[in-house]
């Protein structure tokens, strides 16, 4: 700690603080333009100049100068005022005065400062910039005439996002921010640069000319897409979410968002939304009243009783899931499950058998301080992009050793010094086993207090590093080195993503990762952690609420199978488009056809909904209150920003009505439901709604200590012998099937594609955009080809979000699919 005086006020701050930070802590205002909390100090704009008594004679930039003991700082004087005003005058020499049409006006730092420092005339004359605007890409408009060269966009894209789109080009007055070769922007479109630009040089195109900042109402809520659980701030007007605004005051994401969070929330305004209940009459779905629809549903479920099946999506709030579980009880069925049957088995079964837990053991911010990180499934940044940014920061700021186990390359593998264990599809478990085996053989493993060490050692006989390297196609050194790094690091993290397109080996992967976490001592150690990250915004909540089959009852796959045999009398699906996103379309189709009574509750008339007997219009995440639990166990609150269209109701209200129909007890409000669920959910017992602040509340604490430490042997996969094989996954720009209704993501990736590596493409003479056909057992799919550098020879990739691809005709949950290619 260091003592100093700022404007006559005694201030005590940590010795790593800068003068600016010290002043801020003491509540003293210093203007800034190029400073941003989450970026490294830069000192480009000179707006923050202050006087320091010990450094008389010149003014000191407060944002880059560290404090020293006894420093005496003055933040305002006539001279400082004059200098700051001159700085602004310089900036305004070439700056176009577009404020009346500039979307930034009203929240522009330059405008605010010009007002504050009364820059009404300019002593300097010069030509205004007249550079062409970049409006080529769909999401981000760049108008460098308004740029003040603060470098925030360059820095955030590099330091936080890890993409590195921009840099400064030219010199002197000609300096400007540009992409490589000054071409149009073509990047991840996360919009981080948009949120950091202090002026109107980088703006969100979808919001263009929609409203003035002061007309928007701000509502903080939680992103409805993935399990990262970023807090978002809606800017709403006219009952529409107009834009997502920058907010680094709530949540753990520091204002960071990915393309889906920043540009993908607008599906809630879609005119395709369902606005009234639909009931099938003479084969047609026709509009009906809520009374009629609910009556029908109650009747159908009641007569089905224990042969009813309930399948839920993982984007319902905890409160809604709680009611759903009660509904299952009221109906008298144990057939209850969420999101795709197999996909979350890594957490529910794998972790349970080894650690006695069903959640990640640590929180996201801890990863920033990790020394070694193992990311399993390299496209982690595609499934949980903002967590990917945390990994980037750990690597760049902290020199963390990063190892990626994955079947294709991605942003993580391109990071400095990243070790890339690119393997043949389906062999992740083998590599993890080899690491465990290596640690045991070399006596590096931390085996104290572990159960089943010897059994594991025996069971892993076939997984000696050399044996695995040959089969998986990765280097032995890399495996050994990574294992060593993990076991010797002070803080280490193992990350694993799970979701609908990754159902193969889900339980095995969970087990193998947990074994490794135990042997390296990562599980339950403070500062380290095993992270299992669910695909959807409330995947963890669904597991916590036990939206899982009761003992002896059917899970999703069981339900679908038994339904397809005509053994289920009713099927109730909420918030899932199973026909598009679940593996094995044929099975889902048959299940829906053979079940006499199908209810679908959704926002849109999805493919699944159009097969239902009753369709109930539900509300989106932007229209409800309640809580989500993210992949690090953080419970966060949602706040409604807009009203639902037409007669759509929240899932909460629908379940309330149904429960009343069954004569069951119903909590009156979300808050009451939370109290009730907290009392019965392990880990939530002590949590009150009032404890969930701006940062959310992590149940179980920052570090969750395993209840058991049980090593469980697990067999690896076998590489598929096929010339070409297709792996299924998710694409960064989309999330589940919801984002295909959102304009932002659709403007970047609007249709399905099949991705080829360069080598394969060259060999097959396939060019970007060409229509290709893939034949596999089960059918044929066809889409445009996309040629990229991520894939090894013989491996193709297709995202699962688009119904039109009919990918799940050939994808049945296997790790990879043997295919034949034709044009």
């Amino acid at each position: 700690m260091v003592n100093l005086t700022i404007d006559g006020k005694e201030v005590k701050v940590s010795k790593t603080a800068t003068i600016y930070e010290a002043a801020k802590e003491a509540g003293i205002y210093i203007p800034v333009l190029c400073y941003a909390k989450k970026l490294l100090p830069y000192g480009a704009c000179r707006v923050c100049l202050v006087e320091v008594e010990q450094m008389k004679g010149r003014l000191i930039p407060s944002c880059t100068t560290p404090v020293t003991a006894g420093m005496v700082v003055t933040t305002m004087s006539d001279e400082i005022r004059k200098v700051r005003k001159t700085v602004l005058e310089f900036l305004l020499v070439n700056h176009v005065v577009d404020c009346p049409v500039c979307d930034k006006a009203g929240e522009c730092d330059l405008q605010d400062l010009s007002y504050e420092y009364e820059v009404v005339t300019n002593r300097f004359a010069g030509e205004k910039f007249d550079l062409p605007k970049d409006e080529i890409n769909p999401l981000i408009e760049r108008n460098m005439n308004r740029c003040v060269l603060c470098g925030k966009c360059v820095r955030v894209c590099d330091e936080v996002v890890g993409y590195g789109s921009y840099s400064f080009i030219n010199r002197g007055f000609e300096t400007k921010i540009a992409t490589a070769f000054d071409r149009g922007l073509n990047c991840e479109f996360c919009g981080q640069c948009v949120s950091l630009c202090p002026v109107g040089a980088i703006l969100p195109r979808p919001f263009k000319f929609k409203a003035r900042p002061w007309q928007l109402k701000e509502v903080n809520s939680v992103c409805g897409y993935c399990g990262n659980g970023c807090t978002v701030t809606f800017g709403t007007k006219d009952n529409e979410v107009q834009t997502i605004r920058f907010n680094d005051k709530t949540g753990v994401n520091d204002g960071n968002l990915c393309i889906r969070g920043r540009f993908g929330a607008t599906y809630v305004n879609s005119d395709q939304r369902l606005t009234s209940p639909l009931i099938r009459k003479d084969g047609e779905l026709v509009e009906a009243s809520w009374e009629e629809a609910l009556e029908k549903v109650t009747e159908g479920l009641r007569s089905a009783g224990s042969s009813a099946g309930i399948i839920s999506g993982a984007r319902l709030t905890n409160e809604e899931l709680f009611l759903l579980k009660n509904l299952a009880k009221a109906v008298g069925t144990g057939n209850l499950d969420h999101s795709g049957g197999e996909c979350y088995k890594g957490v529910t079964e794998g972790l349970h058998e080894t650690l006695g837990l069903q959640a990640s053991t640590a929180t996201f911010p801890q990863v920033e301080k990790a020394n070694a990180i193992l990311a399993i499934r390299n496209d982690f940044y595609e499934t949980h992009p903002v967590f990917g940014m945390v990994v980037n920061q750990a690597v760049k700021r902290n020199n963390a050793h990063l190892t990626v186990i994955g079947d294709k390359q991605g942003k993580l593998t391109r990071m400095p010094h990243a070790r890339n264990l690119q393997h043949k599809p389906g062999l992740e478990v083998n590599i993890l086993n080899a690491m465990c085996r290596f640690l045991l053989d070399e006596k590096l493993a931390k085996t104290d207090g572990l159960q089943g060490v010897e059994e594991l050692q025996e069971a892993l006989a076939d997984y000696a590093v050399d044996a695995v390297t040959a089969a998986a196609g990765v280097s032995a050194d890399a495996i050994k080195q990574s294992a060593k790094e993990l076991v010797s690091a002070e803080n280490a993290a193992i990350l694993l993503a799970y979701g609908l397109p990754y159902t193969a080996y889900s339980r095995e992967l969970g087990l193998a990762a947990a074994n490794l976490a135990l042997l390296t001592g990562i599980a339950g150690r403070s500062g380290s952690g095993l992270y299992l990250c669910g695909e959807k915004s409330n995947s963890q909540g669904a597991i916590d609420q036990q939206i899982l089959p009761a003992a002896g009852a059917l899970g999703v796959s069981g339900m679908l199978k038994s339904a397809s045999e005509g053994k289920l009398k009713a099927l109730y699906v909420t918030g899932e488009d199973m026909l598009v996103s679940y593996p094995d379309k044929g099975l889902v189709e048959k299940a829906l056809d053979k079940t006499p009574f199908v209810v679908v509750q959704d926002l849109f008339l999805s493919e699944t909904a159009s097969k239902a007997d009753v369709v109930l219009p539900a509300a989106s995440f932007a229209e409800k209150s309640g809580t989500f639990t993210n992949a690090e166990r953080r419970i966060q609150r949602l706040h409604p920003g807009i009203k639902s269209p037409g007669q759509a109701k929240t899932d909460f209200a629908i379940f309330q009505a149904l429960l009343t129909g069954f004569g069951a007890a119903v909590p009156a409000t979300e808050a009451a439901a939370f109290m009730a669920l907290a009392a019965t959910t392990p880990g939530y017992e002590m949590v009150g709604l009032e404890m969930i602040g701006d940062q959310g509340y992590v149940w179980g604490g920052e570090t969750l200590v395993p209840e058991i430490r049980n090593l469980v042997a697990v067999t690896g996969g076998k590489a598929l012998e096929a010339k070409y094989q297709l792996v299924v996954g998710s694409a960064l720009y989309h999330s589940g099937t919801t984002s295909v209704h959102a304009k932002g993501p659709m403007s970047v990736v609007s249709e399905p594609y099949i991705e080829f590596g360069r080598e394969d493409a060259a060999e097959l003479k396939i060019v970007d955009g060409q229509q290709v056909k893939l034949k596999a057992a089960g059918g044929e799919i066809s889409a445009k080809a996309k040629v990229d550098r991520r894939l090894p020879k013989g491996v193709l990739f297709a995202p699962y979000h688009f119904g039109s691809l009919k990918l799940n005709r050939i994808y049945n949950g296997q790790a990879s699919i043997a295919v034949e290619i034709s044009k």
């Binding site: 009346p100 049409v101 006006a105 263009k208 000319f209 409203a211 003035r212 007309q215």
Partner: protein, 131 residues
């Protein structure tokens, strides 16, 4: 006392003589308003479009909240007011909108004959304001 009374009366009588009346024979006869008179608003046109750039300063500054602006982008990529409406029943003719406008796109004319029979007729949309 009487003297003053007579003097006053004489002024009155003088004004009763023909040619001395201040009453205007409206509507046959109309006065020209002083230039600073605040009558009906007018949106200033340019050659191709209205001058207004839909900056929202006038609705923001308007104390009676009678101005509605909705901005949009035209084919040339410029910002323009898709909707511009003034509800004259609420307007208090303060002229703040004119003062706030950064591009001098709105002004107040000398038109004062604003009576109407229907409430709807007091809504002046862009077409009417551009006349």
């Amino acid at each position: 006392m009487f003297k003053e009374f007579a003097k006053g009366l004489s002024i009155t009588l003088k004004h009763l003589l023909p040619g001395h009346s201040t009453t205007v024979d409206y509507p046959k006869q109309k006065l020209t308003m002083s230039p600073r008179f605040r009558g009906l608003h007018r949106l200033v046109p340019t050659q191709t479009r209205e001058k207004c750039v839909a900056c929202y300063l006038c609705p923001t500054v308007c104390p009676a909240k009678c101005i509605t602006v909705e901005s949009a982008e035209n084919e040339k990529g410029e910002k323009y007011p898709k909707v511009y409406k003034i509800d004259l029943l609420r307007c208090i003719f303060c002229g703040y909108c004119v003062e706030a406008c950064p591009v001098e796109a709105i002004e107040m004319s000398d038109k004062y004959e604003l009576a109407n029979y229907k409430r709807e007729d007091f809504i002046f949309d862009k077409e009417r304001l551009l006349k």
